[in-house]
Structure formats: structure tokens, C-alpha cells
């Protein structure tokens, strides 16, 4: 730094340095654990206990990934998670869109009451319902099936609320003009309302995806022995339980499970932020 720089500028530059230092420190705290996990998963097992811990895998080893993938059955678990998540996201988008349209555009007795009923579901945490839900699912013969995994999540009060807000932004005149053109409600919904509400639908989709993919409690309850519907989160638990001696395989599995979601974050950050801050912060 030139010594003849004006003091104001020097102070500003110093503050900038402090800020970037703090930011980088924050980044290390947040990303450090994941970074070390990636590094460790690529190290040969013998290097894991090395101190100080290696910060870069000089000779990356990929066989732990192969082991987690095939012996840890992560290939099957990832497929199951994709199916489970796909069903839940599609289901929530459809049921929320339909209900939100009714609440925003149609007049029928008890509409307000029913909307309150939808909102009331937000007050009941899922954890509170598992006692009876686990019995219901086995009574229906849905234990260890995709139906058992997904059907309880095919509707969402939050999603309905979010989409209703979006539909209410659509000018009434548009509906009237469309009606004059002979558009019935369903055609108007598909051709006009849904395309106009695309940002909210995307936000809900990303939110549902994240919530479904990361579910732990319910898959733990309704998936049993065998790999046929077990999701990747439960797969990780089993990897930890059975392969304790192979820490590096466990870590490789962890990386495999989290990478798709990090990609999702980078691509859909805007939608995700929108859904997470939805009702509370404008």
C-alpha cells in the first residue's frame, strides 16, 4: 500500500481486508467439514490417521466410491430416493395447484373454512402424527412400499398457500376475458394461471424436492429389511452401522448422497431462497 494514500482510502482498504478475512473464515467453518469429508473419502485408509490431517488428496483413490456404490447399495438407494422424491414433488405440485386455484378463483360455500383447515395442517408437525400413521400404513398393506413412503406427503398446506398467493396476483379481468373467449376454468388454469405462477411453482418444487430427499424419520419407520424401497438417507445410516471399520467408504457414500443436492443449490438458489423465505420476509 503506498504510504501517501489518503487516510480515508487506507481505512477503507483495511476494512475491506477485514471483511474478506471474516468471510473466508466463515466459509472455512461452513464448508470445512464437507471439504474434509471429500478429502478423507479420497485418501487411502492408512492416511486417515495422519497428523496433521492431509488437506489435499495427492493420490486420490476412487475405489471407496465403487465400494459405497455397489457393496453399500447406494446405486439402488439413490434410485429409490429419486422415485420417492419424484412422486412427492409431482404430487404436491398437482394437489397444491388444484386446491390453490379453487381458493383463488372459485366461489363455493365453506371456502374460507376449508382454507383455514388447510392452514391448520401447518400447526401440526409431522412427528406428532407418526404413532397412528405407522399403523395406518401397515393396515393398508403399504409397509415397505413406495405408496407408504409417499402418499402421506402428497398434499401440503404450505404449497397451497404459496400458490394461492401467486394466483391472487393474476388480474380478475384476465379471467373474465378468457371466459369471454370460451375458456372454462380448467383450460384457464392450465393455459394461463399455471404459466403465470411459474416462479412460485418452481420455488415450491425445489422446496418439496429438498424436503423429500432429506426425509429421515418416515423412511426409517416405513422401510424394512431388503433394499427394494429403502432411501439413500437410511442407506447412509446402514453404511455407518455395518462398515464402521471402513470409514473412507462411509465418507464416500456421504459425498455421493450430498453432491446432487449441492448441484441443485447452485442451479436453483434463487427458487430455494424464495420458498424458504416465502411467507415471512418479503
Amino acid at each position: 500500500m503506498p504510504s501517501d494514500a489518503p487516510p480515508g482510502r487506507r481505512a477503507r482498504r483495511l476494512r475491506l481486508v477485514v471483511r474478506y478475512t471474516l468471510l473466508t473464515l466463515g466459509a472455512v467453518v461452513v464448508l470445512g467439514p464437507l471439504y474434509l469429508t471429500v478429502v478423507n473419502s479420497l485418501l487411502p485408509a492408512s492416511a486417515l490417521a495422519q497428523r496433521p490431517p492431509p488437506l489435499f488428496p495427492v493420490h486420490p483413490q476412487w475405489h471407496d466410491y465403487a465400494a459405497a456404490w455397489s457393496q453399500g447399495h447406494l446405486d439402488v438407494y439413490l434410485r429409490n430416493s429419486a422415485i420417492q422424491t419424484g412422486i412427492i414433488v409431482a404430487g404436491q405440485l398437482v394437489t397444491s395447484t388444484l386446491a390453490a386455484y379453487a381458493f383463488a378463483f372459485l366461489r363455493f360455500p365453506l371456502r374460507r373454512t376449508l382454507f383455514v383447515v388447510f392452514l391448520a395442517t401447518l400447526m401440526i408437525p409431522f412427528e406428532v402424527t407418526i404413532v397412528t400413521n405407522s399403523t395406518t400404513v401397515s393396515d393398508l398393506g403399504w409397509y415397505n412400499t413406495f405408496a407408504g413412503l409417499t402418499v402421506p406427503f402428497l398434499a401440503t398446506g404450505f404449497g397451497t398457500f404459496l400458490l394461492r398467493q401467486a394466483f391472487l396476483q393474476i388480474p380478475r379481468d384476465l379471467r373474465e376475458a378468457a371466459a369471454l373467449d370460451g375458456y372454462g376454468h380448467l383450460r384457464f388454469l392450465v393455459r394461463v394461471a399455471v404459466p403465470l405462477a411459474r416462479p412460485s411453482l418452481a420455488a415450491l418444487g425445489v422446496f418439496s424436492f429438498l424436503a423429500a430427499w432429506n426425509q429421515y424419520l418416515w423412511p426409517l419407520i416405513v422401510t424394512g429389511s431388503g433394499t427394494n424401497v429403502r432411501t439413500v438417507q437410511i442407506g447412509l445410516k446402514l453404511l455407518e452401522g455395518t462398515q464402521l471399520s471402513h470409514v473412507d467408504v462411509v465418507l464416500a457414500g456421504t459425498v455421493i448422497a450430498v453432491v446432487p443436492l449441492l448441484v441443485l443449490l447452485v442451479v436453483f438458489q434463487k427458487q430455494l431462497v424464495r420458498s424458504l423465505t416465502g411467507g415471512a420476509v418479503k
Binding site: L34, T132, L210, I234
Partner: protein, 295 residues
């Protein structure tokens, strides 16, 4: 509008609401209401026999049981450890990243990144870092005995560290959104009046951020109430430290799956519901009061 059209519109309305309503009826309201009925019945000593009506006896029994009290203490301690830390660090990160500077987009993605991690991922990542053999703790001079995840004192704080880390992403996102909703002119006006950056932060930013902080507190508390996965994966019911980390949801799960006493699990579920409801109502009251001040 003709009567026939009105009837048709109403019919369509019900039809569109119906799918979601069916799911809610079967998987939200029915099981919720069932809790109150199940709480009054005691499970039979052998499966297959009918349940016995015991009235409030079972409720009293559960609420005074040592397992419930352990859970309540652990859950409250856990909330106290997770909520302030999670919100404060999230706020610090949000404040640090709240400038239009080069590279800020990258920092934002990094700071929000833990929002996509699952409980299983956070458990395995930190389980390894805290492992007494391959982990980093001994190297850092932290080597409690018994090892941290079997240690009656340190197991709960260890789980709290994992939960805080996993919550940071959401905390950062919520706090950032709150910060960007504060009009820049207000801050600028305070600076023009000669307020230092610190005064601006504490006297202008934080008060204007208070709705966000309240919202964050509720989200964080509910998140902490629902945590149990890390305990399930890393500690489990046979661990020496178990009773110190037997968080409420884990207790409910084990009461269903291991003890198979649905009545007791129902009582615990009602308690969890009331705790969550209490926090939510408290938030509403606080926000309401703030709105009154503003008038």
C-alpha cells in the same frame, strides 16, 4: 350468474380441493386426533389382546416417568444450545455477506450450502471428525474420556454442534432476506446523522430486523424440537450417554418401535405438539405487540 353455473362452479371447487383434503384427513387430522384417544388407553401386556381404558392414569404415568423427564431436559437444553448459536452465526454471516463486493455470490452459495444437507449427512460428516481414532479432536487436544459421543456430558453438545452447522444455511438465508428488506436510505440517513457503523447496526439494523429474528427463532426452535437423526445414527439406545441425548422425537420413535406402547407414544406426541404450538403462539404475540408499538 345463473343458478346452474353457480352450482357447477361450487362442485368444481370441491373437486379441486378434494385430493389434498383426503390426504390431510387421513394422514394429518385423523392421526392427530387419535393421539388424544390413544393417550387414554393402555397397550395390552401381550400383542393381540384389546387395549384397556385407563383414563388420565397413563398421561400422569408418562409425564412423571424418568424417561420423559430426561427427554424434556435434553430437549430444552438442546434448544438452548442450538437456537441462539444457529441464529447468531447465521446473522453474522449474513451481515458479512451483505455488501455488493466481488466474489460475494460465491460466499452466498457457500453460506447457504448446509441447507441442502440431511441429518444423515451431517451425522456422518461430524461422526468422523469427532471419532476418537480417525477424528480431529485428539489432534486438537480435545480428548474426553469416554469418547465424546459416549460421554454423558459432551454427547449432547456434540449433537448440538452438528445441528447448528446443518441449520446455518437456513439461518443465513432467512437473515439475508431480512437484511435486504431494510431500505438502504434508512441506514444512509443514520450515517449522515453521524452514527458509527456499530451504532447503525445495533440501533437501526437489529430493531428493523426483529421480525426476521422472531421468525428465525420459531423456525430454529421447531427445527431443534424435531432433531433426532444424528442421535439415532451416532448414539442409539444402547449407548452409555443415551439418556442424556434422548430427545423427545427419538423417545416417541423408540416408544413406538421398541416398547410398542402406542398410548405412551401418543402422550409424548401431544406434549411435542403443545411445545411447538406454544412457541408458535408466542411468536405471534411478540410480532403483534411490535406492530402495536409501531402504530
Amino acid at each position: 350468474m345463473s343458478r346452474r353455473r353457480r352450482v357447477r362452479e361450487a362442485a368444481l371447487g370441491y373437486l379441486l380441493v378434494l385430493p389434498a383434503l383426503c390426504v390431510f384427513a387421513v394422514f394429518v387430522f385423523y392421526p392427530f386426533a387419535q393421539n388424544f384417544r390413544l393417550a387414554l388407553f393402555q397397550a395390552p401386556p401381550f400383542p393381540g389382546l384389546p387395549s384397556r381404558y385407563v383414563g388420565l392414569h397413563q398421561v400422569g404415568q408418562v409425564l412423571t416417568s424418568s424417561s420423559f423427564l430426561e427427554s424434556l431436559v435434553a430437549t430444552v437444553l438442546f434448544v438452548v444450545m442450538v437456537v441462539p448459536a444457529g441464529l447468531l452465526i447465521g446473522l453474522l454471516l449474513a451481515v458479512a455477506a451483505h455488501r455488493r463486493l466481488r466474489g460475494m455470490a460465491v460466499y452466498r452459495v457457500i453460506f447457504s450450502s448446509t441447507v441442502v444437507t440431511s441429518v444423515a449427512v451431517s451425522a456422518l460428516v461430524f461422526g468422523t471428525l469427532m471419532d476418537p481414532v480417525v477424528g480431529l479432536l485428539p489432534w486438537l487436544g480435545l480428548n474426553p474420556s469416554p469418547p465424546i459421543l459416549q460421554n454423558t456430558t459432551w454427547a449432547l453438545p456434540a449433537i448440538a454442534v452438528m445441528a447448528v452447522w446443518q441449520f446455518l444455511g437456513l439461518s443465513f438465508i432467512v437473515m439475508s432476506a431480512g437484511l435486504s428488506s431494510i431500505p438502504e436510505e434508512v441506514l444512509e440517513a443514520a450515517r449522515v446523522d453521524g452514527a458509527s457503523e456499530r451504532t447503525v447496526f445495533w440501533r437501526v439494523t437489529v430493531p428493523l430486523l426483529s421480525p426476521t429474528i422472531f421468525f428465525g427463532t420459531v423456525v430454529a426452535t421447531i427445527y431443534a424440537f424435531q432433531t433426532f437423526g444424528q442421535v439415532d445414527i451416532l448414539i442409539g439406545p444402547t449407548n452409555a450417554a443415551f439418556e442424556h441425548v434422548n430427545l423427545l422425537v427419538y423417545n416417541i420413535l423408540n416408544t413406538i418401535e421398541i416398547a410398542r406402547t402406542t398410548g405412551q407414544a401418543a402422550v409424548l406426541s401431544i406434549v411435542l405438539f403443545l411445545l411447538t404450538l406454544g412457541v408458535t403462539l408466542l411468536q405471534l404475540r411478540l410480532v403483534e405487540r411490535r406492530v402495536h408499538y409501531a402504530q
